[in-house]
C-alpha cells in the first residue's frame, strides 16, 4: 500500500511539473499549448537514451530540459506569425508528429517495441525500496523550486508584462513593449519544465513506448490546470493532486461496479474525469484556488 501511494505521489508530482509549466504558458501568458505531451516525450526520450548510452543521470536531466526548450524555440517563433487558435492546432499537430517520429525512428527509439531497462533513480545508492521514496523527495523539491520560481516570476515586472500580453497583445505593442520576445521565452520555459517532467517519468517507469505519449496526456494537464484555477500557481498544485485522486480513485470504483471490465473501466475513468471537469466549470468556474483569468 505504501509503495502504491509513493508511486501515485510520483506520478502526481510529474503532472504537477507539467501543469506548472502549462499554467505559465496559458494561465499567465495566454499561449494555447495543446502539445504539452510532445515536450514531455522529448524530455523522457532524451534522458532515457542518454543514460542508456552511459551518461549519468544529472547531466542527462539537464540535457533533457535544454533539448525540450530548444525544440520549443521554432514552434514559439512560428506561433508569432499565427493567431492564438493556430498555435493550438500547430502544437497539437506537432505532438502527434513527435509521437509518430518516435514510432518510426526505430534505430533510435526502438519504435513501438519501446525502450526497456532505463536506469532507475538512486539505484546505484543501493538503498533498495527507499530509492522510490528518494525519487518522491527529489520531485517534491523540484516542484517546490518550480513553484518558488514561478511565484517570484509572476510578481516581477516580467510577470506583469506576460499577464498584460495575455489580456491584450495589441495594447502591449501600443505601449512600446515587445510581446514576441516574451512569448517565445515563456514557451521555452514551460517546455523545459515539461522536459524535466519527462525525464523523471522515464526513470520512474523505466520503459518508454510511443503509446505513452498520446494527446490524452496533454488534456489531463489542461484539466488539472482548469480544475485548480487557471493563472494561479497554487491552482496548478491543487489541480494536479485532484486529477490524480480522480484517475486513481476511479480505479477503486471498479470494486463497487464489478460488471465493468478492465477495458470498459478505462473509458469510465475518462468519463469521470470529463464529468468532474464539467461540474467544476459549472459550480466553480474559477477553479479550486480561484482564477485570475
Amino acid at each position: 500500500m505504501i509503495a502504491y501511494l509513493i508511486a501515485v505521489g510520483i506520478i502526481a508530482l510529474i503532472y504537477m511539473l507539467l501543469t506548472i509549466g502549462l499554467n505559465l504558458q496559458y494561465g499567465y501568458t495566454g499561449l494555447i499549448n495543446f502539445g504539452v505531451v510532445a515536450f514531455f516525450a522529448i524530455g523522457a526520450y532524451t534522458s532515457a537514451l542518454l543514460t542508456l548510452g552511459g551518461w549519468p543521470l544529472v547531466p542527462a536531466f539537464v540535457v533533457a530540459i535544454i533539448v525540450a526548450a530548444i525544440v520549443a524555440y521554432p514552434i514559439g517563433l512560428l506561433s508569432l506569425r499565427l493567431s492564438d487558435d493556430y498555435l493550438a492546432v500547430v502544437t497539437l499537430g506537432f505532438s502527434e508528429v513527435v509521437r509518430l517520429a518516435i514510432q518510426q525512428e526505430r534505430w533510435l527509439t526502438h519504435g513501438v517495441q519501446g525502450l526497456p531497462g532505463i536506469p532507475r533513480m538512486f539505484l546505484s545508492l543501493g538503498i533498495g525500496d527507499y530509492a522510490e521514496l528518494a525519487t518522491l523527495a527529489v520531485l517534491v523539491l523540484c516542484n517546490l523550486a518550480a513553484i518558488g520560481l514561478m511565484l517570484h516570476l509572476v510578481r516581477s515586472p516580467y510577470g506583469r508584462l506576460i499577464q498584460a500580453i495575455r489580456d491584450d497583445e495589441v495594447a502591449v505593442e501600443a505601449i512600446g513593449k515587445d510581446p514576441r520576445r516574451l512569448k517565445v521565452q515563456v514557451f521555452m520555459l514551460g517546455s523545459g519544465l515539461a522536459g524535466l517532467a519527462g525525464a523523471f517519468y522515464a526513470h520512474f517507469i523505466t520503459y518508454l513506448s510511443p503509446d505513452q505519449f498520446l494527446p490524452l496526456v496533454t488534456f489531463y494537464v489542461w484539466i488539472a490546470m482548469i480544475i485548480g484555477g487557471t493563472g494561479r500557481t497554487t491552482g496548478a498544485v491543487a489541480g494536479s493532486l485532484i486529477l490524480m485522486v480522480f484517475l486513481e480513485g476511479s480505479r477503486f470504483a471498479r470494486d463497487w461496479i464489478p460488471s465493468v471490465s478492465e477495458v470498459q473501466m478505462a473509458s469510465v475513468r475518462l468519463a469521470l474525469v470529463g464529468l468532474a471537469l464539467i461540474l467544476f466549470t459549472i459550480y466553480r468556474p474559477q477553479g479550486m484556488m480561484g482564477s485570475r483569468r
Partner: protein, 255 residues
Amino acid sequence: MTALLAAVGVCKSFDGFKVLDDVSFAVPERGLTGIVGTNGAGKSTLFAVVSGQLDADGGRVSFADADITGLRPMRRARLGLGRTFQVPREFAHLTVRENFLVAARREYGETLGSVFFGWGRVQREERTLRDRADGWIEFLNLKKVTDKPAGTLSGGQKKLLELGRMLMTEPKCILLDEPFAGVNPVLVEEISTRIRELNNSHGIAFVIIEHHLEALKALVQHLYVMDQGRVIADGEAAAVLAEPRVLEAYMGGVI
C-alpha cells in the same frame, strides 16, 4: 517649423472599399489638433495607420523627423508616439496601478535575467516607477480604484486609465480616440483641463478624435474634418465648423 507628426497621402482599403483616400495631416510640436467626422468617416482607421496597428496601402507617415511608415507599433510607441483606443483595451486582470507600471518605459526589469539575477536593481527601479505611477493615478482621479482590477472599471475610468498608461511611456504625442465618449459632462471638463495641463507643462502634443464638438472646439487649435475617407476641411476650429460644406457633410446642416 516642421511638423512633429505628419501623414502624407495615406490610403487604406478594406476589401476594395476605400476607407482612407489620400489623407494628409500635420501636427506641430506641442500642438493640440482635433479630428471630427461622421461615423465611419475613417478617423479611427487613420489612427491605426499612423500608430502602426494597420499597414497603409499607400502614403507616408513621419514622426519627429523620421519616416515611420512600416514600423511596428512597438517601435513607434518607443519613439514617443502613443495612442488610446476608441474601445478601451485595458489589461483587465491587472490592477490599475499594474496597468500603469506595465507601461513604464524601462531599460531593466523586464528581462528574465534581471528577474533572477538583478532583483535589487529591479526593486529600486520599481520604487521610482511606482511613485511616478501613483502621481499620474492621482492626477487622473483614479486613486480610489488604484488596486482594483482594471476590467472592473467604468467606461469613463477606462478612458482615463488608457491616457494614464500612455503617460507612463513618456510620449511626445498622444492620439486620443474619443476621450469624452461615455464620460459625464463634469468629467469632460476635467479631462479637458488635464489635457491642457499636460500640453502646457509637459509639452505633449495631442490629436483628438471627438464627437463632442463643443468640448473639442474649446480645446484644440487646429481642426480636421473627415468625410468618407477624405479630409474635407481644416483650419481654426470655430471657422472650420462654420464652413458650409462641413455643415452639409458632417451635420447634414444641423449644428
